[in-house]
Amino acid sequence: MTISVAAMDDSLAGAVALAAAGNEAAFTRIITAHHDDMTRVCFVICGDLDIADEAVQAAWPIVWRKLDSLRDPDRLRPWLVSIAANEARQLMRRRRRRTVVELSVGDTTTGVDPAVRVGDLDLANALARLDPDDRALLALRYVAGFDSTELARATGRSPSGTRARLARLLDRLRMELSDD
Protein backbone atom coordinates (compact mmCIF):
# COMPACT_ATOMS: atom_id res chain seq x y z
CA MET A 1 0.00 0.00 0.00
CA THR A 2 1.39 3.39 -0.95
CA ILE A 3 0.04 6.78 -0.13
CA SER A 4 -0.81 8.89 -3.15
CA VAL A 5 1.59 11.53 -2.02
CA ALA A 6 1.41 14.55 -4.25
CA ALA A 7 -2.32 14.88 -4.67
CA MET A 8 -3.03 14.18 -1.06
CA ASP A 9 -0.48 16.65 0.23
CA ASP A 10 -1.85 19.28 -2.11
CA SER A 11 -5.36 18.87 -0.81
CA LEU A 12 -4.08 18.91 2.74
CA ALA A 13 -2.41 22.29 2.50
CA GLY A 14 -5.48 23.99 3.88
CA ALA A 15 -5.80 21.39 6.59
CA VAL A 16 -2.27 22.12 7.73
CA ALA A 17 -3.03 25.79 8.19
CA LEU A 18 -6.26 25.06 10.02
CA ALA A 19 -4.69 22.43 12.24
CA ALA A 20 -1.81 24.74 13.02
CA ALA A 21 -4.42 27.20 14.22
CA GLY A 22 -5.85 24.55 16.53
CA ASN A 23 -8.59 22.99 14.43
CA GLU A 24 -9.09 19.40 15.60
CA ALA A 25 -11.09 18.35 12.55
CA ALA A 26 -8.30 19.46 10.27
CA PHE A 27 -5.83 17.59 12.41
CA THR A 28 -8.01 14.51 12.07
CA ARG A 29 -7.79 14.82 8.29
CA ILE A 30 -4.01 14.87 8.48
CA ILE A 31 -4.00 11.82 10.70
CA THR A 32 -6.35 10.03 8.35
CA ALA A 33 -4.07 10.72 5.42
CA HIS A 34 -0.74 9.85 6.98
CA HIS A 35 -1.10 7.63 10.02
CA ASP A 36 -0.85 4.42 8.04
CA ASP A 37 2.17 5.60 6.08
CA MET A 38 3.97 6.53 9.28
CA THR A 39 3.12 3.20 10.88
CA ARG A 40 4.46 1.24 7.93
CA VAL A 41 7.78 3.07 8.05
CA CYS A 42 8.02 2.64 11.82
CA PHE A 43 7.29 -1.07 11.55
CA VAL A 44 10.25 -1.59 9.22
CA ILE A 45 12.42 0.32 11.69
CA CYS A 46 11.13 -1.46 14.81
CA GLY A 47 10.20 -4.88 13.48
CA ASP A 48 7.40 -4.95 16.02
CA LEU A 49 3.85 -3.75 15.50
CA ASP A 50 3.35 -2.62 19.06
CA ILE A 51 6.52 -0.56 19.13
CA ALA A 52 5.66 0.89 15.73
CA ASP A 53 2.26 1.93 17.06
CA GLU A 54 3.90 3.41 20.11
CA ALA A 55 6.28 5.42 17.96
CA VAL A 56 3.49 6.84 15.83
CA GLN A 57 1.40 7.58 18.89
CA ALA A 58 4.37 9.47 20.29
CA ALA A 59 4.83 11.33 17.02
CA TRP A 60 1.36 12.86 16.79
CA PRO A 61 1.67 15.07 19.90
CA ILE A 62 4.96 16.36 18.53
CA VAL A 63 3.27 17.08 15.23
CA TRP A 64 0.44 18.90 16.97
CA ARG A 65 2.81 21.07 18.95
CA LYS A 66 5.05 21.90 16.02
CA LEU A 67 2.67 22.09 13.13
CA ASP A 68 2.93 25.86 13.09
CA SER A 69 6.64 25.51 12.35
CA LEU A 70 5.96 23.72 9.07
CA ARG A 71 6.68 26.48 6.60
CA ASP A 72 6.11 24.49 3.43
CA PRO A 73 2.93 22.37 3.44
CA ASP A 74 4.29 20.46 0.45
CA ARG A 75 6.74 18.93 2.84
CA LEU A 76 4.08 17.70 5.19
CA ARG A 77 4.50 14.04 4.37
CA PRO A 78 8.29 13.83 4.67
CA TRP A 79 8.09 15.98 7.78
CA LEU A 80 5.57 13.66 9.41
CA VAL A 81 7.34 10.50 8.37
CA SER A 82 10.67 11.89 9.60
CA ILE A 83 9.21 12.65 13.01
CA ALA A 84 7.70 9.19 13.29
CA ALA A 85 10.90 7.53 12.11
CA ASN A 86 12.83 9.55 14.63
CA GLU A 87 10.56 8.37 17.41
CA ALA A 88 10.92 4.78 16.26
CA ARG A 89 14.71 5.07 16.27
CA GLN A 90 14.69 6.56 19.74
CA LEU A 91 12.37 3.89 21.06
CA MET A 92 14.57 1.16 19.70
CA ARG A 93 17.68 2.75 21.14
CA ARG A 94 16.07 3.12 24.53
CA ARG A 95 14.87 -0.44 24.60
CA ARG A 96 18.13 -1.82 23.25
CA ARG A 97 16.01 -4.55 21.86
CA ARG A 98 16.90 -6.82 19.04
CA THR A 99 14.00 -8.41 17.30
CA VAL A 100 14.61 -11.99 16.32
CA VAL A 101 12.11 -13.43 13.93
CA GLU A 102 11.45 -17.10 14.47
CA LEU A 103 9.85 -19.54 12.11
CA SER A 104 6.42 -20.45 13.40
CA VAL A 105 5.36 -24.01 12.68
CA GLY A 106 1.74 -23.03 12.90
CA ASP A 107 2.09 -20.69 9.98
CA THR A 108 2.93 -23.40 7.49
CA THR A 109 -0.70 -23.89 6.62
CA THR A 110 -1.23 -20.43 5.23
CA GLY A 111 -0.58 -21.54 1.70
CA VAL A 112 2.38 -19.21 1.23
CA ASP A 113 5.28 -20.69 -0.66
CA PRO A 114 7.71 -21.89 2.05
CA ALA A 115 10.63 -20.49 0.07
CA VAL A 116 8.99 -17.08 0.07
CA ARG A 117 8.34 -17.33 3.79
CA VAL A 118 11.91 -18.25 4.53
CA GLY A 119 13.06 -15.36 2.35
CA ASP A 120 10.86 -12.98 4.29
CA LEU A 121 12.18 -14.30 7.55
CA ASP A 122 15.72 -13.90 6.30
CA LEU A 123 14.94 -10.31 5.44
CA ALA A 124 13.35 -9.70 8.83
CA ASN A 125 16.35 -11.16 10.62
CA ALA A 126 18.78 -9.24 8.43
CA LEU A 127 16.89 -6.07 9.29
CA ALA A 128 16.94 -6.97 12.96
CA ARG A 129 20.72 -7.17 12.89
CA LEU A 130 21.00 -3.62 11.56
CA ASP A 131 21.34 -0.52 13.65
CA PRO A 132 18.01 1.34 14.04
CA ASP A 133 19.49 4.27 12.13
CA ASP A 134 20.24 1.99 9.20
CA ARG A 135 16.78 0.48 9.29
CA ALA A 136 15.40 4.00 9.30
CA LEU A 137 17.47 4.84 6.24
CA LEU A 138 16.12 1.81 4.37
CA ALA A 139 12.54 2.48 5.45
CA LEU A 140 12.68 6.12 4.47
CA ARG A 141 14.20 5.34 1.10
CA TYR A 142 12.24 2.29 0.03
CA VAL A 143 9.00 2.40 1.97
CA ALA A 144 8.48 6.16 2.22
CA GLY A 145 10.18 6.82 -1.12
CA PHE A 146 12.35 9.67 0.10
CA ASP A 147 14.79 11.14 -2.39
CA SER A 148 18.37 11.79 -1.35
CA THR A 149 17.68 15.38 -0.28
CA GLU A 150 14.85 14.29 1.96
CA LEU A 151 16.95 11.43 3.29
CA ALA A 152 19.77 13.81 4.11
CA ARG A 153 17.44 16.18 5.92
CA ALA A 154 15.75 13.43 7.84
CA THR A 155 18.94 11.76 8.96
CA GLY A 156 21.03 14.83 9.62
CA ARG A 157 23.73 13.78 7.23
CA SER A 158 25.02 15.17 3.99
CA PRO A 159 23.47 13.83 0.78
CA SER A 160 26.74 12.22 -0.23
CA GLY A 161 27.21 10.68 3.20
CA THR A 162 23.69 9.37 3.05
CA ARG A 163 24.24 7.88 -0.37
CA ALA A 164 27.44 6.21 0.73
CA ARG A 165 25.77 4.77 3.79
CA LEU A 166 22.86 3.50 1.74
CA ALA A 167 25.19 1.87 -0.77
CA ARG A 168 27.08 0.12 2.03
CA LEU A 169 23.82 -1.01 3.54
CA LEU A 170 22.71 -2.52 0.27
CA ASP A 171 26.00 -4.35 -0.05
CA ARG A 172 25.71 -5.68 3.46
CA LEU A 173 22.15 -6.86 2.97
CA ARG A 174 23.05 -8.41 -0.33
CA MET A 175 25.76 -10.44 1.34
CA GLU A 176 23.61 -11.39 4.30
CA LEU A 177 20.77 -12.45 2.10
CA SER A 178 23.21 -14.52 0.04
CA ASP A 179 22.23 -12.72 -3.11
CA ASP A 180 25.31 -13.41 -5.17
Partner: protein, 450 residues
Protein backbone atom coordinates in the same frame (compact mmCIF):
# COMPACT_ATOMS: atom_id res chain seq x y z
CA UNK B 1 27.21 -11.92 -10.27
CA UNK B 2 23.61 -11.05 -9.58
CA UNK B 3 22.54 -7.69 -10.90
CA UNK B 4 22.76 -5.22 -8.03
CA UNK B 5 19.88 -3.25 -9.45
CA UNK B 6 17.71 -6.33 -9.44
CA UNK B 7 18.61 -6.84 -5.81
CA UNK B 8 17.66 -3.27 -4.97
CA UNK B 9 14.36 -3.60 -6.79
CA UNK B 10 13.54 -6.86 -5.04
CA UNK B 11 14.58 -5.42 -1.70
CA UNK B 12 12.25 -2.49 -2.22
CA UNK B 13 9.38 -4.82 -3.08
CA UNK B 14 10.07 -6.97 -0.05
CA UNK B 15 10.40 -4.02 2.30
CA UNK B 16 7.12 -2.61 1.08
CA UNK B 17 5.45 -5.96 1.42
CA UNK B 18 6.79 -6.21 4.93
CA UNK B 19 5.58 -2.69 5.70
CA UNK B 20 2.13 -3.65 4.49
CA UNK B 21 1.91 -6.04 7.44
CA UNK B 22 1.61 -2.98 9.65
CA UNK B 23 -1.40 -1.52 7.85
CA UNK B 24 -4.29 -1.81 10.26
CA UNK B 25 -7.50 0.08 10.83
CA UNK B 26 -7.17 3.08 13.09
CA UNK B 27 -9.48 5.70 14.49
CA UNK B 28 -8.13 9.06 13.38
CA UNK B 29 -10.69 11.10 15.25
CA UNK B 30 -9.91 9.33 18.50
CA UNK B 31 -6.19 9.89 18.06
CA UNK B 32 -6.75 13.55 17.30
CA UNK B 33 -9.07 13.95 20.26
CA UNK B 34 -6.57 12.36 22.59
CA UNK B 35 -3.69 14.44 21.29
CA UNK B 36 -5.56 17.72 21.36
CA UNK B 37 -6.94 17.06 24.82
CA UNK B 38 -3.64 16.05 26.28
CA UNK B 39 -1.31 18.49 24.56
CA UNK B 40 -1.68 22.20 24.90
CA UNK B 41 0.47 24.02 22.41
CA UNK B 42 3.76 25.07 23.87
CA UNK B 43 6.71 27.01 22.64
CA UNK B 44 8.56 24.85 20.19
CA UNK B 45 12.28 24.26 20.35
CA UNK B 46 12.59 25.18 16.73
CA UNK B 47 15.60 23.30 15.49
CA UNK B 48 14.57 19.72 15.43
CA UNK B 49 14.05 17.07 12.79
CA UNK B 50 13.20 19.14 9.74
CA UNK B 51 14.43 22.56 8.66
CA UNK B 52 11.05 24.16 8.14
CA UNK B 53 11.06 26.75 10.88
CA UNK B 54 9.74 30.13 9.92
CA UNK B 55 12.17 32.16 7.89
CA UNK B 56 12.61 35.06 10.28
CA UNK B 57 13.35 32.86 13.27
CA UNK B 58 15.60 30.59 11.32
CA UNK B 59 17.42 33.50 9.74
CA UNK B 60 18.06 35.04 13.14
CA UNK B 61 19.32 31.74 14.53
CA UNK B 62 21.57 31.18 11.55
CA UNK B 63 22.92 34.72 11.75
CA UNK B 64 23.75 34.30 15.42
CA UNK B 65 25.44 30.97 14.87
CA UNK B 66 27.36 32.34 11.89
CA UNK B 67 28.57 35.26 13.95
CA UNK B 68 29.74 32.88 16.66
CA UNK B 69 31.47 30.66 14.15
CA UNK B 70 33.19 33.63 12.49
CA UNK B 71 34.41 34.92 15.83
CA UNK B 72 35.75 31.51 16.78
CA UNK B 73 37.36 31.06 13.42
CA UNK B 74 38.97 34.51 13.57
CA UNK B 75 40.53 33.58 16.90
CA UNK B 76 41.67 30.30 15.36
CA UNK B 77 43.26 32.05 12.41
CA UNK B 78 45.11 34.39 14.72
CA UNK B 79 46.55 31.43 16.56
CA UNK B 80 47.37 29.75 13.29
CA UNK B 81 49.26 32.72 11.94
CA UNK B 82 51.28 32.94 15.12
CA UNK B 83 52.17 29.29 15.37
CA UNK B 84 52.54 28.00 11.86
CA UNK B 85 55.29 28.69 9.35
CA UNK B 86 54.01 29.78 5.94
CA UNK B 87 53.19 26.99 3.55
CA UNK B 88 55.61 26.51 0.67
CA UNK B 89 54.72 28.38 -2.46
CA UNK B 90 52.40 26.32 -4.55
CA UNK B 91 53.80 25.00 -7.80
CA UNK B 92 50.46 24.37 -9.42
CA UNK B 93 47.42 26.47 -10.08
CA UNK B 94 43.79 25.49 -10.49
CA UNK B 95 42.39 24.55 -13.88
CA UNK B 96 39.09 23.14 -15.05
CA UNK B 97 36.63 21.26 -12.90
CA UNK B 98 35.08 18.10 -14.34
CA UNK B 99 32.21 16.09 -12.93
CA UNK B 100 30.06 13.17 -13.94
CA UNK B 101 26.34 13.91 -13.87
CA UNK B 102 23.24 11.92 -14.63
CA UNK B 103 20.93 12.98 -17.43
CA UNK B 104 17.62 14.33 -16.15
CA UNK B 105 15.82 11.58 -17.98
CA UNK B 106 17.58 8.26 -17.65
CA UNK B 107 15.20 6.63 -20.09
CA UNK B 108 17.85 6.74 -22.78
CA UNK B 109 19.50 3.73 -21.21
CA UNK B 110 22.53 5.53 -19.83
CA UNK B 111 23.51 7.01 -16.57
CA UNK B 112 26.30 9.57 -16.51
CA UNK B 113 28.20 11.89 -18.85
CA UNK B 114 31.16 14.12 -18.04
CA UNK B 115 30.83 17.88 -17.87
CA UNK B 116 33.21 20.79 -17.45
CA UNK B 117 31.95 23.48 -15.10
CA UNK B 118 33.30 26.96 -14.54
CA UNK B 119 32.26 30.20 -12.89
CA UNK B 120 29.68 32.19 -14.83
CA UNK B 121 29.26 29.62 -17.60
CA UNK B 122 26.72 26.87 -18.09
CA UNK B 123 28.00 23.31 -17.68
CA UNK B 124 29.57 21.97 -20.85
CA UNK B 125 29.30 18.29 -21.67
CA UNK B 126 32.63 17.09 -22.97
CA UNK B 127 32.23 13.32 -22.91
CA UNK B 128 29.07 11.38 -23.69
CA UNK B 129 25.86 12.19 -25.52
CA UNK B 130 22.14 11.77 -25.04
CA UNK B 131 21.04 8.28 -25.84
CA UNK B 132 24.49 6.87 -26.48
CA UNK B 133 23.69 4.20 -23.88
CA UNK B 134 27.19 4.47 -22.47
CA UNK B 135 27.78 5.88 -19.03
CA UNK B 136 30.91 7.76 -18.09
CA UNK B 137 31.72 8.19 -14.42
CA UNK B 138 34.47 8.91 -11.91
CA UNK B 139 36.59 11.38 -13.94
CA UNK B 140 40.08 12.11 -12.58
CA UNK B 141 42.58 14.62 -13.99
CA UNK B 142 46.16 13.40 -14.09
CA UNK B 143 48.70 15.06 -11.77
CA UNK B 144 50.09 17.04 -14.71
CA UNK B 145 46.58 18.06 -15.74
CA UNK B 146 47.09 16.93 -19.31
CA UNK B 147 45.02 13.76 -19.21
CA UNK B 148 41.68 12.63 -17.90
CA UNK B 149 40.81 9.08 -16.91
CA UNK B 150 37.30 7.83 -16.28
CA UNK B 151 35.29 4.64 -16.04
CA UNK B 152 32.67 3.73 -18.58
CA UNK B 153 30.12 1.00 -19.10
CA UNK B 154 26.96 0.03 -20.89
CA UNK B 155 23.72 -0.58 -19.03
CA UNK B 156 22.66 -4.20 -18.73
CA UNK B 157 19.20 -3.66 -17.36
CA UNK B 158 16.87 -1.01 -16.11
CA UNK B 159 18.73 2.21 -15.47
CA UNK B 160 17.92 4.39 -12.50
CA UNK B 161 19.55 7.48 -11.12
CA UNK B 162 20.86 5.55 -8.13
CA UNK B 163 24.54 5.03 -8.84
CA UNK B 164 25.08 2.60 -6.00
CA UNK B 165 22.73 0.00 -7.40
CA UNK B 166 23.42 0.41 -11.05
CA UNK B 167 25.17 -2.38 -12.90
CA UNK B 168 26.85 -2.26 -16.27
CA UNK B 169 28.60 -4.52 -18.74
CA UNK B 170 31.29 -3.73 -21.32
CA UNK B 171 33.24 -1.99 -18.62
CA UNK B 172 36.47 -0.13 -19.28
CA UNK B 173 38.63 2.69 -18.13
CA UNK B 174 39.44 5.31 -20.71
CA UNK B 175 42.31 7.82 -20.77
CA UNK B 176 42.02 10.90 -22.95
CA UNK B 177 44.20 13.94 -23.50
CA UNK B 178 42.81 17.28 -22.39
CA UNK B 179 43.11 20.54 -24.33
CA UNK B 180 43.72 23.90 -22.70
CA UNK B 181 39.95 24.49 -22.89
CA UNK B 182 39.24 21.32 -20.96
CA UNK B 183 38.07 19.37 -24.00
CA UNK B 184 39.17 15.80 -24.60
CA UNK B 185 41.34 15.92 -27.69
CA UNK B 186 42.45 12.36 -28.20
CA UNK B 187 41.79 8.93 -26.79
CA UNK B 188 45.08 7.64 -25.43
CA UNK B 189 44.16 4.30 -23.97
CA UNK B 190 41.16 2.15 -23.25
CA UNK B 191 41.55 -0.71 -20.82
CA UNK B 192 38.71 -3.16 -21.30
CA UNK B 193 37.63 -5.10 -18.27
CA UNK B 194 36.91 -8.80 -18.69
CA UNK B 195 33.35 -9.82 -19.31
CA UNK B 196 31.05 -9.70 -16.38
CA UNK B 197 28.86 -7.18 -14.76
CA UNK B 198 29.52 -4.79 -11.93
CA UNK B 199 29.48 -1.12 -11.10
CA UNK B 200 31.40 1.38 -13.21
CA UNK B 201 35.07 1.18 -12.27
CA UNK B 202 36.60 4.22 -10.61
CA UNK B 203 40.30 4.68 -11.41
CA UNK B 204 42.84 6.72 -9.44
CA UNK B 205 46.07 8.24 -10.81
CA UNK B 206 49.38 7.50 -9.20
CA UNK B 207 51.07 10.69 -7.90
CA UNK B 208 53.57 10.55 -10.75
CA UNK B 209 50.91 10.19 -13.40
CA UNK B 210 52.57 7.04 -14.69
CA UNK B 211 49.78 4.67 -13.70
CA UNK B 212 46.15 4.42 -12.81
CA UNK B 213 44.86 1.87 -10.34
CA UNK B 214 41.40 0.48 -9.80
CA UNK B 215 39.78 -2.29 -7.83
CA UNK B 216 38.07 -5.18 -9.52
CA UNK B 217 36.69 -7.88 -7.30
CA UNK B 218 39.47 -9.10 -5.07
CA UNK B 219 42.18 -7.80 -7.43
CA UNK B 220 43.93 -4.51 -7.84
CA UNK B 221 44.61 -3.50 -11.43
CA UNK B 222 47.41 -1.11 -12.30
CA UNK B 223 47.41 0.26 -15.84
CA UNK B 224 50.10 2.28 -17.58
CA UNK B 225 48.88 5.86 -17.89
CA UNK B 226 49.90 6.19 -21.52
CA UNK B 227 49.83 2.78 -23.15
CA UNK B 228 47.16 1.18 -21.01
CA UNK B 229 49.35 -1.90 -20.47
CA UNK B 230 48.00 -3.56 -17.38
CA UNK B 231 49.16 -5.79 -14.60
CA UNK B 232 46.97 -7.36 -12.01
CA UNK B 233 47.76 -7.83 -8.34
CA UNK B 234 45.44 -10.67 -7.41
CA UNK B 235 43.88 -11.21 -4.06
CA UNK B 236 44.79 -7.86 -2.56
CA UNK B 237 41.34 -7.74 -1.09
CA UNK B 238 40.09 -10.21 1.43
CA UNK B 239 36.50 -9.23 0.73
CA UNK B 240 36.26 -8.30 -2.95
CA UNK B 241 34.68 -4.95 -2.21
CA UNK B 242 35.65 -2.88 -5.23
CA UNK B 243 33.59 0.13 -4.22
CA UNK B 244 35.66 0.89 -1.14
CA UNK B 245 38.37 3.52 -1.03
CA UNK B 246 41.74 3.27 -2.73
CA UNK B 247 44.52 5.83 -2.25
CA UNK B 248 48.07 5.97 -3.62
CA UNK B 249 50.90 6.96 -1.30
CA UNK B 250 52.65 10.17 -2.23
CA UNK B 251 55.74 8.42 -3.54
CA UNK B 252 53.65 5.99 -5.57
CA UNK B 253 55.14 2.90 -3.94
CA UNK B 254 52.07 1.88 -1.93
CA UNK B 255 48.33 1.83 -2.28
CA UNK B 256 46.00 1.83 0.68
CA UNK B 257 42.70 0.01 0.20
CA UNK B 258 39.81 0.08 2.61
CA UNK B 259 38.32 -3.21 3.73
CA UNK B 260 35.80 -4.07 6.41
CA UNK B 261 37.66 -3.66 9.69
CA UNK B 262 41.03 -2.95 8.12
CA UNK B 263 43.21 -0.87 5.86
CA UNK B 264 45.50 -2.94 3.64
CA UNK B 265 48.72 -1.36 2.44
CA UNK B 266 49.59 -2.86 -0.93
CA UNK B 267 53.24 -2.58 -1.96
CA UNK B 268 53.11 -1.91 -5.67
CA UNK B 269 56.40 -3.64 -6.44
CA UNK B 270 55.47 -6.77 -4.53
CA UNK B 271 55.68 -8.06 -1.03
CA UNK B 272 53.08 -9.04 1.47
CA UNK B 273 50.52 -6.38 2.26
CA UNK B 274 50.51 -4.66 5.60
CA UNK B 275 47.20 -4.88 7.40
CA UNK B 276 46.06 -2.14 9.77
CA UNK B 277 43.13 -3.20 11.91
CA UNK B 278 40.48 -0.56 12.46
CA UNK B 279 37.18 -0.73 14.22
CA UNK B 280 33.93 -1.25 12.39
CA UNK B 281 33.26 -1.60 8.69
CA UNK B 282 35.30 -0.26 5.79
CA UNK B 283 36.96 3.03 6.74
CA UNK B 284 36.43 5.97 4.42
CA UNK B 285 38.30 9.01 3.13
CA UNK B 286 41.76 7.49 3.11
CA UNK B 287 44.63 9.99 2.76
CA UNK B 288 48.41 9.88 3.20
CA UNK B 289 50.42 12.30 5.28
CA UNK B 290 53.34 14.23 3.82
CA UNK B 291 55.95 11.64 4.81
CA UNK B 292 53.86 8.62 3.76
CA UNK B 293 54.27 7.27 7.29
CA UNK B 294 50.67 7.75 8.41
CA UNK B 295 47.20 7.40 6.97
CA UNK B 296 44.17 9.53 7.70
CA UNK B 297 40.83 7.78 7.66
CA UNK B 298 37.24 8.22 8.77
CA UNK B 299 36.05 5.46 11.04
CA UNK B 300 32.46 4.39 10.84
CA UNK B 301 32.45 3.66 14.55
CA UNK B 302 30.44 6.36 16.31
CA UNK B 303 32.48 8.48 18.65
CA UNK B 304 29.64 9.42 20.96
CA UNK B 305 26.68 7.38 19.85
CA UNK B 306 26.38 9.15 16.53
CA UNK B 307 28.26 9.60 13.32
CA UNK B 308 31.92 8.96 12.85
CA UNK B 309 35.36 10.33 13.62
CA UNK B 310 38.54 11.28 11.79
CA UNK B 311 41.61 9.23 12.72
CA UNK B 312 45.27 9.12 11.81
CA UNK B 313 47.30 5.93 12.17
CA UNK B 314 50.87 4.91 11.41
CA UNK B 315 51.26 2.51 8.50
CA UNK B 316 52.43 -0.18 10.90
CA UNK B 317 49.13 0.17 12.73
CA UNK B 318 50.59 2.01 15.72
CA UNK B 319 49.31 5.16 17.38
CA UNK B 320 45.79 5.21 16.01
CA UNK B 321 44.62 8.65 17.13
CA UNK B 322 41.17 10.18 17.01
CA UNK B 323 41.62 13.75 15.74
CA UNK B 324 38.09 14.91 16.29
CA UNK B 325 36.49 15.77 19.62
CA UNK B 326 33.57 14.15 21.38
CA UNK B 327 30.66 16.42 22.27
CA UNK B 328 30.75 17.39 25.93
CA UNK B 329 27.46 19.24 26.07
CA UNK B 330 24.44 17.17 27.13
CA UNK B 331 22.05 16.53 24.30
CA UNK B 332 24.55 17.19 21.53
CA UNK B 333 26.41 14.70 19.35
CA UNK B 334 29.09 15.32 16.76
CA UNK B 335 29.59 13.66 13.42
CA UNK B 336 32.73 14.05 11.34
CA UNK B 337 32.97 12.78 7.82
CA UNK B 338 34.35 13.25 4.33
CA UNK B 339 37.93 13.98 5.30
CA UNK B 340 40.38 15.23 2.71
CA UNK B 341 44.13 15.59 3.24
CA UNK B 342 45.70 18.74 1.81
CA UNK B 343 47.95 18.52 -1.26
CA UNK B 344 51.04 19.04 0.90
CA UNK B 345 49.94 16.31 3.30
CA UNK B 346 50.03 18.49 6.40
CA UNK B 347 46.39 19.31 7.03
CA UNK B 348 42.99 17.70 6.85
CA UNK B 349 39.59 19.18 6.01
CA UNK B 350 36.42 17.48 7.03
CA UNK B 351 32.74 18.11 7.57
CA UNK B 352 31.52 18.69 11.09
CA UNK B 353 27.89 17.81 11.76
CA UNK B 354 26.01 18.45 14.96
CA UNK B 355 22.94 16.56 16.12
CA UNK B 356 20.80 17.77 18.95
CA UNK B 357 18.69 15.36 20.94
CA UNK B 358 15.81 16.26 23.21
CA UNK B 359 12.90 14.38 24.63
CA UNK B 360 11.22 14.97 21.27
CA UNK B 361 13.92 13.02 19.48
CA UNK B 362 17.12 13.79 17.64
CA UNK B 363 17.72 15.84 14.56
CA UNK B 364 20.36 17.85 12.84
CA UNK B 365 20.71 21.38 14.02
CA UNK B 366 19.70 23.70 11.16
CA UNK B 367 22.76 25.81 11.49
CA UNK B 368 25.43 25.80 8.82
CA UNK B 369 27.69 22.84 9.42
CA UNK B 370 31.24 24.11 9.22
CA UNK B 371 34.03 22.62 7.24
CA UNK B 372 36.87 22.12 9.67
CA UNK B 373 40.53 22.44 8.72
CA UNK B 374 43.08 21.14 11.20
CA UNK B 375 46.64 19.96 11.48
CA UNK B 376 47.18 16.23 11.55
CA UNK B 377 47.42 16.27 15.32
CA UNK B 378 44.02 17.94 15.53
CA UNK B 379 45.49 21.33 16.45
CA UNK B 380 45.32 24.71 14.69
CA UNK B 381 41.70 24.13 13.92
CA UNK B 382 39.77 26.54 11.71
CA UNK B 383 36.02 26.34 11.22
CA UNK B 384 35.02 27.62 7.81
CA UNK B 385 31.30 28.41 7.78
CA UNK B 386 29.68 27.21 4.59
CA UNK B 387 26.11 27.76 3.37
CA UNK B 388 24.05 24.86 4.61
CA UNK B 389 23.15 23.30 1.29
CA UNK B 390 26.72 23.35 0.02
CA UNK B 391 28.34 21.46 2.87
CA UNK B 392 29.47 18.20 1.40
CA UNK B 393 32.59 16.39 0.28
CA UNK B 394 35.26 19.05 0.76
CA UNK B 395 38.24 18.50 -1.51
CA UNK B 396 41.36 20.60 -1.72
CA UNK B 397 42.06 22.61 -4.82
CA UNK B 398 45.32 21.67 -6.58
CA UNK B 399 47.03 24.80 -5.20
CA UNK B 400 45.83 24.01 -1.69
CA UNK B 401 44.21 27.42 -1.28
CA UNK B 402 40.54 26.55 -1.73
CA UNK B 403 38.12 23.78 -0.90
CA UNK B 404 35.91 22.34 -3.61
CA UNK B 405 32.42 21.60 -2.32
CA UNK B 406 30.25 19.23 -4.28
CA UNK B 407 26.75 18.48 -3.15
CA UNK B 408 23.41 17.64 -4.62
CA UNK B 409 22.64 21.34 -5.04
CA UNK B 410 25.76 22.29 -6.91
CA UNK B 411 29.50 22.59 -7.33
CA UNK B 412 31.25 25.46 -5.60
CA UNK B 413 34.44 26.39 -3.83
CA UNK B 414 35.40 28.50 -0.87
CA UNK B 415 38.65 30.00 0.37
CA UNK B 416 40.25 28.75 3.55
CA UNK B 417 39.64 31.95 5.44
CA UNK B 418 36.33 32.16 7.30
CA UNK B 419 34.05 34.60 5.52
CA UNK B 420 35.50 33.93 2.10
CA UNK B 421 32.90 34.29 -0.64
CA UNK B 422 31.58 31.13 -2.22
CA UNK B 423 32.25 30.70 -5.93
CA UNK B 424 29.52 28.69 -7.62
CA UNK B 425 30.38 26.69 -10.74
CA UNK B 426 27.17 24.76 -11.35
CA UNK B 427 23.71 24.39 -9.93
CA UNK B 428 22.45 20.94 -9.20
CA UNK B 429 18.93 19.52 -8.99
CA UNK B 430 15.95 21.83 -9.35
CA UNK B 431 15.77 20.91 -13.01
CA UNK B 432 17.90 23.77 -14.24
CA UNK B 433 21.44 22.64 -13.75
CA UNK B 434 23.26 19.34 -13.50
CA UNK B 435 21.59 16.29 -12.05
CA UNK B 436 24.00 15.59 -9.21
CA UNK B 437 21.72 13.52 -7.03
CA UNK B 438 23.95 10.47 -7.02
CA UNK B 439 27.21 11.72 -8.49
CA UNK B 440 28.15 14.86 -6.58
CA UNK B 441 31.31 13.23 -5.25
CA UNK B 442 32.53 12.31 -8.74
CA UNK B 443 34.34 15.58 -9.24
CA UNK B 444 37.94 16.44 -10.09
CA UNK B 445 39.89 19.68 -10.25
CA UNK B 446 42.62 19.99 -12.87
CA UNK B 447 46.13 20.82 -11.67
CA UNK B 448 47.97 23.23 -13.97
CA UNK B 449 51.76 23.24 -13.47
CA UNK B 450 53.26 26.72 -13.38
Amino acid sequence: MTDRLDFETRLEERLRARADLASRPFEAAAIARQVVAGQGRRARLGWLEWPTTRLAFRGLAVALLLAMALLGAAIGIGALLRERPPLPTSVVSNGWIAISANPWNVGGGENGDIYIVSEGNPPRRVIGADGDEVAQACPRFSPDGGRLVYGEGRATGTVTTFRGGWTVGDRAIVIVGVSEHGDPWAPLARVAIPAGQGPVVCPEWSPTGQHVAFRLGAALWIADGVSGATRVLPDVSAFGREDNDLEWSRDGSMIAVAEPGQIRIIHVDGGAPTVIAVEGGPPRSLGWTADDRRIVYVSVVPVDGYGSGVHVVAIDGANDTLLTPVANEPGFHFTFDEASVSPDGTRVAYRHGINQCTTDGCGSRPAPEPIVIADLDGSSRIDVPVPDDLVSSPRWSPDGKRLLLSSIVGISSIGLEPGSPVVVYANGTLGRGLNLEWSASEVTWQPVPR
